[in-house]
């Protein structure tokens, strides 16, 4: 089993409005924001982590340079509904399908894997066929990502 990531931080924010809204939901959406591969450009990952947190989700950020094994282990341990992967280096075709495969192997069939970054259009369909739920290209609004998660995460009790 891969070593569990050391950098995990949970961001949780309770504002008055959100907590009343949340009390009606059974469980807050939990998302692991991950940076696999060698790429250190984390602006996007951090902006997304903060936007999801501000939208009332529980966000765990892995920190940089996590292997697919480390990411899958963290997803299991944190029992997340979705893994948001940020890659700007072009290594997405190697890394993303492996993350999906590892999640499925450990029985996380409903865990969504989302990808954001510099991804050529040609790769998008291929990645989706390999189990990536959605690919968000540069220029995506954080609201669209929040909306996607709210609409696609399977409710749990």
């Amino acid at each position: 089993m891969a070593k569990y990531v050391r950098h995990c931080v949970t961001f949780t924010v309770f504002t008055k409005n959100q907590s009343s809204e949340l009390s009606m939901e059974s469980r807050k959406i939990r998302v692991l924001v991950a940076k696999p591969g060698l790429d250190g450009h984390d602006r996007g990952a951090k902006v997304i982590a903060r936007a999801l947190r501000d939208a009332g989700m529980e966000v765990i950020y892995t920190g940089l340079r996590q292997t697919p094994e480390m990411i899958a282990a963290a997803a299991l341990q944190e029992d997340v509904d979705a893994v948001g992967v940020s890659i700007l280096s072009g290594a997405h075709n190697t890394l993303c399908p492996r993350i999906v495969e590892l999640l499925r192997q450990q029985g996380m069939d409903d865990c969504l894997v989302l990808l954001g970054g510099i991804v050529p259009q040609e790769d998008v369909a291929k990645l989706k066929a390999e189990g990536i739920a959605e690919v968000f290209l540069p220029g995506t609004s954080t609201e669209d990502i929040v909306k996607f998660l709210r609409e696609n995460v399977k409710p749990r009790n």
Binding site: L38, D39, R43, K46, R50, S89, N93, P120, G139
Partner: protein, 560 residues
């Protein structure tokens, strides 16, 4: 002094009259488009700038003449009338063979200097055959694992004549060693070769995050290159203090300026502590700034950079050497401003950003290719980017006179504001104990993260317009532009050459050189001679970095 005040108050009275007589009736009939107007850095911009806004600016002390202190108007007395900026396109992808061909193509098309982009394994000090390199080899730059790759990369390019800039940071001393050994094999004289090593490790911890060792030993490696180059490669710039990546990570123009210049001061302090003579090594410190969309903000930033640096060198360190006081910089247009949507629009963005760099007096310039939000540039896209610079240089007339925006009430006022706000950041960082200490506290990192988030929010509110993204979007976008695809077979090709180099080398010589390097690192001696010896023996990049990892450990980023 009294006279100045009178002039100012007269201007204030004039302004008040204009506001009530002319402006107010118009505003009543036709309100402005927005309540307030903000720059890309979310700084408020006034309706109008007048002499009142530059009342504190003294022409002789603050603006002066080109080639004279405080160099606000440029470091050369002839501006671009003597020599145009160096057109230096950042290039690197796939194998050393392919990048070598791109270099030759760019030189043939009139480019005047080279700039190498390395792939992520190289930037992180891993060989192509490391398991961590899988999927990354040759993807966002050229793959270099040993001297054998470097020999191919510069085959047929005379390093005594062409200046080469290398974008490499954590393992910079190793790539410098490889470069010097290739130059030597070509018969080039180290005393004559020139070029630039990015080697700015501070901005890696602040922004780009391609680090290897903990920050303090990493700074020691940087100082080793200063010392080595000062003695052995005197025309080479061993560091390019970079605001580019700080800006790309989300900083405002002021943060880019302040953190970059404070990084520069930190390098000077560390060099002095190591016993170097300020006027021997500081003249070879160069800078690298971003050119973002907000035209005047950018021009003011470059002008302020020169003025602040000259003043700091004089006031903080007491230097009077002209070469120490002059800030020289490279500019690159803002990759982060490029859009996937309607990618040809990027050509226009790049042209305007490049113009800001030129009007700010840059010494060299990289213009981004229009397809870079999609992938690395194709030949065609890279050529248009180069032609953009050539059009600015040859057709627009902006290079005919020096600092044409100097004296503009707006630009001078903005230049002054940049300086003031930069000094506020200097005071904060000085109070923390300098930049290394500030980074350890996470200060610049948090400032940048906050700005990145504020900017994203402003875009999502529509306060910051990005054409094609949040305004003037197209439902049916024209077909995608062709892009460059890097095949995964590149890794095998690179592993083969690495294996061949390992098979042919003398293992005893490699082991010996690596041991010497460890001893030098442990004893706090200059690591460059041992690094060069290891490179000559064809020790790989990964092996050399591992030796240093054994001594120094690796950096773990704290969570902010």
């Amino acid at each position: 002094m009294a006279e100045t005040k009178e002039i100012t108050s007269a201007k204030d009275a004039d302004l008040e009259r204009w506001e009530s007589d002319t402006l107010a009736p118009t505003l009543k009939q036709h309100p402005e488009r927005k309540k307030s107007f903000e720059s890309v850095s979310l700084e408020e911009v006034n309706r109008l700038y007048t002499p009142a806004d530059v009342a504190d600016v003294n022409f002789a002390d603050d603006i002066g003449f080109p080639g004279e202190f405080p160099y606000t108007r440029g470091i050369h007395p002839t501006g671009y009338r003597g020599k145009l900026w160096t057109m230096r396109q950042f290039a690197g992808f796939s194998t050393p063979e392919e990048t070598n061909a791109r270099f030759k193509y760019l030189l043939q098309e009139g480019q005047t200097g080279l700039s190498v982009a390395y792939d992520l394994p190289t930037l992180m000090g891993y060989d192509a055959d490391s398991p961590l390199s899988e999927g990354e080899v040759g993807k966002c730059g050229v793959a270099v694992s040993s001297l054998a790759d470097m020999e191919v990369l510069f085959e047929g390019i005379p390093l005594e004549q062409v200046t080469v800039s290398q974008t490499i940071n954590a393992p910079a001393s190793v790539l410098l060693a490889m470069y010097l050994v290739v130059a030597e094999k070509q018969g080039a004289d180290w005393k004559k070769i020139s070029g630039t090593l990015q080697n700015d490790i501070l901005k890696e911890y602040i922004a780009q995050k391609e680090w290897i060792y903990p920050i303090r030993p990493a700074m020691k490696l940087v100082v080793d290159t200063f010392e080595f180059c000062t003695n052995e490669v005197p025309r080479y710039n061993p560091v390019s203090v970079s605001g580019y990546h700080i800006r790309e990570a989300g900083a405002t123009a002021i943060q880019e300026l302040a953190f970059t210049l404070r990084d520069g001061l930190e390098y000077v302090e560390w060099g002095l502590k190591a016993g170097l003579d300020i006027d021997q090594f500081v003249p070879r410190i160069s800078f690298f700034f971003n050119a973002h969309n907000d035209f005047f903000e950018e021009v003011a930033k470059y002008r302020a950079a020169r003025r602040i640096w000259a003043r700091e060198m004089r006031e903080r360190f007491g230097s009077t050497n002209e070469r120490t006081l002059k800030l020289r910089f490279h500019t690159q247009t803002a990759g982060v401003s490029l859009t996937v949507q309607q990618p040809l629009n990027n050509i226009v963005r790049v042209a305007i950003q490049a113009l800001a760099g030129v009007l700010g007096g840059t010494q060299s310039l990289h213009t981004d290719a229009y397809d870079e939000a999609l992938a690395l540039p194709t030949d065609r896209a890279a050529l248009i980017a180069l032609r953009t610079q050539q059009i600015i240089a040859e057709e627009t007339g902006v290079a005919n006179t020096i600092d044409p925006l100097g004296g503009s009430y707006f630009v001078e006022s903005l230049t002054e504001k940049m300086e003031e706000r930069t000094r506020e950041y200097f005071n904060k960082i000085d109070a923390m104990g300098g930049m290394v200490a500030a980074i350890e506290k996470g200060f610049p990192q948090r400032e940048i993260q906050d700005s990145a988030y504020q900017y994203q929010k402003a875009v999502e509110r529509g306060d910051q317009v990005i054409v094609g993204v949040n305004k003037f979007e197209m439902e049916d976008e024209p077909a995608q532009v062709p892009i460059l695809v890097i095949d995964d077979s590149v890794r095998n090709h690179q592993i083969e050459r690495l294996q061949k180099a390992r098979d042919q080398r003398d293992p005893g010589a490699v082991a010996n050189a690596l041991e010497k390097l460890k001893v030098a690192a442990k004893n706090d001696e200059n690591t460059m001679p041992a690094t060069i010896e290891a490179v000559r023996a064809y020790a790989s990049l990964g092996e050399i970095c591992s030796a240093l990892r054994d001594v120094y450990g690796v950096y773990e980023e704290p969570v902010f």
